[in-house]
Assembly symmetry: C2
Homo-oligomer: 214 residues x 2
DNA sequence: AGCGACATTGACCGCCGGGTCAAGCCGTAG
DNA sequence: CTACGGCTTGACCCGGCGGTCAATGTCGCT
């Protein structure tokens, strides 16, 4: 199944069309979920014939997977971009967390699927792999923070799951309209929360938080 | 649709059979997800004919909803039972959190569906209502904690989402085998984590945590 | 015995939706 | 002009699955 299938050569028009399909699909998935979105719905919304779908994707599942990879990468880039390499680990985590919340909000239509890992068991693999990468990233930072004494001594991986979880959950609650708050405000709140749960002591927590209240 | 349909009178045998179906369904849902579980699979596993399913349930969806309500209630009871009414709010939260983690682990087969709110959009309502109840419970306690000075001053509801989220996520990661740790150890860790993220100051955090390390 | 209510069976129906396909279009390179 | 490969169409196929139903069984009560 992992055959190196000839990646079809696409013209400019082809690339655009494919992107349209991805976009409309993401939108529909967010609206009704993967299982309740018909291929017909996707093509209809894009205003093309059904057969065309299968010109660009092997099948519905394959489109979904592509969507996942794409957005994971974009999120990772956003996180990396938000971190100031001169800052200490805890601060960088705060920055990454805030960026993630904002990013997820901007791409709400997509993440309403992503963060939730087992909407359909068949995707457990892709989705979890993504989370795993994220967790590893954070765990590394936490390890650093523990070494330099800014983060309390606990298993870094365990703490990392908490960070990733918080971001995911808060984003989810925000997206589904149960937390009514401007994104950036929420982002700062989650940042603060995470810092509080990680900081080695009160003084550190306060200083990292204060530095973030621009 | 919310017709007060005559709730069929069940004999002892009937009640048992219905429970069997619920159990097997929960198991299968956990294995493959709701969408990928066929009614036939459920009845086959229970060793009965397909038609019987519709004797006990209106349809697949209705069974699912029943499953949800049932387990929500049981969780709530477990939480309430774990809290020592003489303790302060923060401690009670810690107790509730630990109980939740344990409960979710014991009922893993079911909660692999529950905590994830939008596996299928059609269930958003039931699932969210459940979370909402939970959040409200916790928010009340947090409000109390803020009033008595043990919890830091932030919007109680916002903080409550964090607590509920943490429990859900850690349980999820544990259930899916990515956190390999005895349940009770994990429960204590999550308890500590939550306390750290809520406590008004370091002294309080330490004392509440120490009191919990039996 | 025989009635009525609960319990159980499995063949059957109908539709929905994923995926196929043969044919046609259009721009460009030769 | 023609050939070719990317692009587009929509009718069609077909398997799977949710849900129905008429028949049969099995209690317990009168």
């Amino acid at each position: 199944m992992t055959t190196t299938e000839a990646p079809r050569r696409l013209t400019a028009q082809g690339i655009e069309r494919k992107q349209q399909l991805l976009d409309h699909a993401a939108e529909l998935f967010a609206e009704r979920g993967f299982g309740d979105t018909r291929v017909v719905d996707i093509v209809k919304r894009a205003g093309v014939a059904k057969g065309l779908f299968y010109w660009y994707f092997d099948n519905k599942e394959s489109l979904f997977r592509e969507l996942v990879e794409l957005n994971r990468q974009r999120l990772r880039v956003a996180q990396a971009g938000a971190m100031d390499p001169r800052s200490d680990a805890l601060t960088r985590i705060r920055q990454g967390v805030e960026a993630s919340v904002v990013f997820m909000s901007r791409n709400a239509h997509f993440f309403s699927l992503l963060e939730v890992e087992n909407l359909e068991k068949q995707f457990a693999d892709v989705l979890r792999r993504g989370t795993e990468v994220h967790v590893t990233d954070v765990a590394r930072l936490i390890g650093e923070g523990i070494a330099t004494g800014t983060i309390r001594e606990e298993d870094p991986v365990l703490l990392a799951y908490g960070v990733v979880g918080s971001v995911g959950y808060y984003s989810h609650f925000h997206r589904t309209g149960r937390i009514k708050l401007p994104v950036d405000e929420l982002a700062r709140f989650v940042g603060r929360s995470v810092v509080c749960s990680l900081a080695a002591d009160e003084r550190i927590a306060r200083s990292v938080i204060l530095a973030g209240q621009t």
